[in-house]
Amino acid sequence: MPTIFTIRSKQARKKYLIFLILLSLLFVSPLQAQSISSVEKIVSLGYAKRFSDTTGSLKIQHQALNLAIKNKSKDDEVICYAYLALTQRRLLHLKEFLHYADTAYYLSKNVQNVRAKAHAAAAMGSLKSYIEDKPQALNYLLKAYQLFSKINAHDQCAKIASDISYLFSPASPPKVEKYAREAMIHAAKSGDPESNLYARLAFGSFLTDKLETGGVVDWEVAVKFFKETVALAEKNADKIISKSNIGIAYINLADLYTKDPKSIDEKAFLMNLEKATTIAKRYNVKIIYRSAIGLQGYYFTQKGDYAKAELLFIEGINYQKKLPYTDNYLLATFYSCLKEVSVKRKDFKAYYAYDTLYTKYNQLKYNEATQSKLQNAEARYESSKKAERIKQLELENELQQKNKLLGYAIAGVLLIGLIFMFRSYYYRQRYYQNREDFLKQEQANSELKVQLMEKETIENLSARLSLERRLLRSQMDPHFIFNALGNIQSMILQKDTIPAVSYLNKFAKLTRQVLEQSRKETISLEEEINTLKNYIELQQLRLNNGFDYVIECDGTIETDILIPPLLIQPFIENAVEHGLKPQENNVRGLIEIYFKEDETKRNLICTIKDNGIGLAASRKLKINDTHQSLSTTITDERLTKMQKENPNAGFTVKEREPETDGQGCIVILNIPILS
């Protein structure tokens, strides 16, 4: 925006421009606290302090830089240099500004982080625009724009496009329009009222530019657009963090009324300035207040109402003097306006009085060091403005020397404007980048969560299936199956039809029971007992009825209590294969199974006794039985899992007491009762 006005070559509007230039100061955005990266948060906090506490500001930023170097984070380092560059710009330390911007840009060539690269490009853009090297400024800003586009940072894109649009004015109206429109598109995509307002200000500026050549229709379009902008801004005032931009919209609208091709609508003009003032007061945006005063003063100067103009300028000066800090640029500008007013009034006495004050403030601001640093900018400014300035100086021959100083003032104000503009756009850029990163992170997190959940479900399922399969195998020992089939074959061969059919039926029933129960979480005690009976009876047939069995339940027990299925059978198998089978033929085998509940009623105690050869003798036989060890391992695994809920779950295997209890093995299972 400032560029537009400064380059617009209407000498008559010169003073007016000063106040519009001031608007660029309003781009200050209070978004400092939105950072995510710790180093960047520190550096931005430091940067935020640059007005109130310059020393502290630089100190904090240097600390952040040291931290970035310590962390070996080149990305953060680049960002720190970029901030330092902008801070030095604010301090008008051209040499340092140049140094930091150059460093940031040089380092950014070696980093991959798009964001750091974009920051560096923007810092260089800022530097180039500071020394008014517009082609280079555009070059770097376009680069930053491209980088931000790449990461779909629409908010930042909206603002950079706006700034690029300003820079193209007035040299290339199509480009001004192109980027203003792109800014609008990006703003719409971002859906953010603040970016939208920023973009609308740029587009409004383009429309205002167009008035130079346009007619009534264009003016009406521009006014309509600004009215919409103002309405939107008011509507979304809560969501707009940078309230000053609302004020700018009003001031721009007011400015537009002064360009009415028919005649100026003074009422509308003043009303909009009034609104700007209201906003300035409501949100305590001093700069809008001063600008509104300045514009009114200028308007009355133009109109010839010098007394009113003078009053307004003095009010502005008084207001400024009330503020805790002295803005010498602004004071100089106000006094320069007062000088002009007094010239118009031919009141040379007043003129000299104002001139003295003007010189004072001007001198305060422009010590020699500053002036030398501004030479670059001055040269550029002079080259583009010389023609008009000479013309004016000829008219005001006597004031020629002083007006040259006014040129410095304009340049200085312009520079401040640029600083604010870029500061604003860096903050927004960073804010939206951070927000984008945060949202992306959040999205990635939730995707990861879903994946994890899916994975867990699949893992659970596969673990369950695997246990089920192993459980099935532990129950249906292949050796047992084929031996049973061999038995059936034998009965058929011997034409023992009835026992064969009965055996086959039992075998089919057991197979069905095991298949069904191995899929269940719980079965009733009754079902478990039925399966056991069936299994034991098949084993009896195999071993030529070489043993007996007893299953007894404690009187109090209810057989519909629920327990995990198929825990007991492997121990029966053990008793038969390793206890009873190796037994001498003269001893009749006996398996006793006894169920009772424990005191807590939470566990079922199952005792399995056999009168076989006992543990020690069985071990001596060293029969390598992988199946048996597998089924005991699975039972152990299952009971151990249940210990989380029921710490008593488990089993013990021991030798019977030969003296008191006789020979054999005893297994005590502690099975959780489930509900």
Partner: protein, 247 residues
């Protein structure tokens, strides 16, 4: 010829089933002279009755059939193991070229086993074969017993270049140039000569992958013994995959 036969089996019904089946398939050649159901009993009976043929169950009442083999002093008999499911034992049988039958017993398989005995000369159950069997039961086998009419050859797996089948015979080509023909189908060896070292490239050919000189995309393998073997179309993909894994 009539074989004096001993059945060692701890389940009475399975014993009876085997007897009936033997009567059915080779009644005129078999004379059952006794049964045993424990290691102790079996050892005594073999030494006392000196059978021609022994059917040996692996899981006995008080131990295993292998223990019986370690304890006997008489060893001039034909041995056929019977088993319901001992998978690791089955592999050991294959490596050691010991005959076995799966329970419930298939009468056709039983007949084939008896017929095979008939064509063999009366033969000493070599101690070495039993030792091989014991070794193969306890660890991953690295040797293979190749039974022929004249002798039992024990060859190291890495000595085997390739196997070629013709009908129910398999010829082993060894690194030292020997060729040994056994009367067992290639299928029998495919189960124990496994990838990644061995690979059946074709219906008729099983090769040692380490003995490949080169192979062509068209599906021919050149072996270091200068033989050229075809890779069947169905095996090509699997073969190239294996070779890539090897490289």
């Amino acid at each position: 010829m009539i074989y004096k036969t001993l059945i060692i089996e701890d389940e009475h019904r399975l014993r009876e089933a085997l007897s009936i089946m033997l009567e059915m398939v080779a009644g005129e050649n078999i004379q059952i002279i006794g049964y045993a159901e424990s290691v102790e009993e079996a050892t005594k009976m073999i030494d006392r009755l000196k059978p021609d043929l022994v059917f040996m169950d692996i899981m006995l009442k008080d131990g295993t059939g292998f223990e019986v083999l370690q304890q006997i002093s008489f060893n001039t008999f034909h041995l056929i193991f019977t088993t319901a499911y001992e998978q690791h034992a089955i592999n050991a049988f294959k490596y050691s070229a010991v005959d076995y039958l799966l329970k419930p017993i298939d009468s056709q398989e039983l007949k084939t086993a008896i017929d095979r005995i008939a064509i063999l000369e009366e033969r000493v159950l070599e101690k070495q074969q039993i030792t091989e069997l014991q070794t193969n039961l306890s660890k991953t086998p690295d040797r293979l017993v190749l039974p022929t009419l004249e002798a039992m050859y024990v060859v190291k797996l890495e000595q085997i270049l390739r196997c070629e089948t013709s009908g129910s015979y398999t010829t082993f080509f060894l690194t030292d140039g020997r060729k040994i023909m056994v009367s067992k189908p290639l299928k029998n060896y495919e189960d124990i000569l496994l990838p990644p070292v061995f690979f059946r490239v074709h219906q008729s050919h099983l090769i040692n992958v380490n003995a490949i000189l080169s192979y062509s995309r068209e599906g021919m393998v050149h072996m270091i013994d200068k033989s050229v073997l075809p890779i069947s179309r169905a095996k090509k993909e699997q073969f190239f995959k294996l070779m890539k894994d090897e490289i």
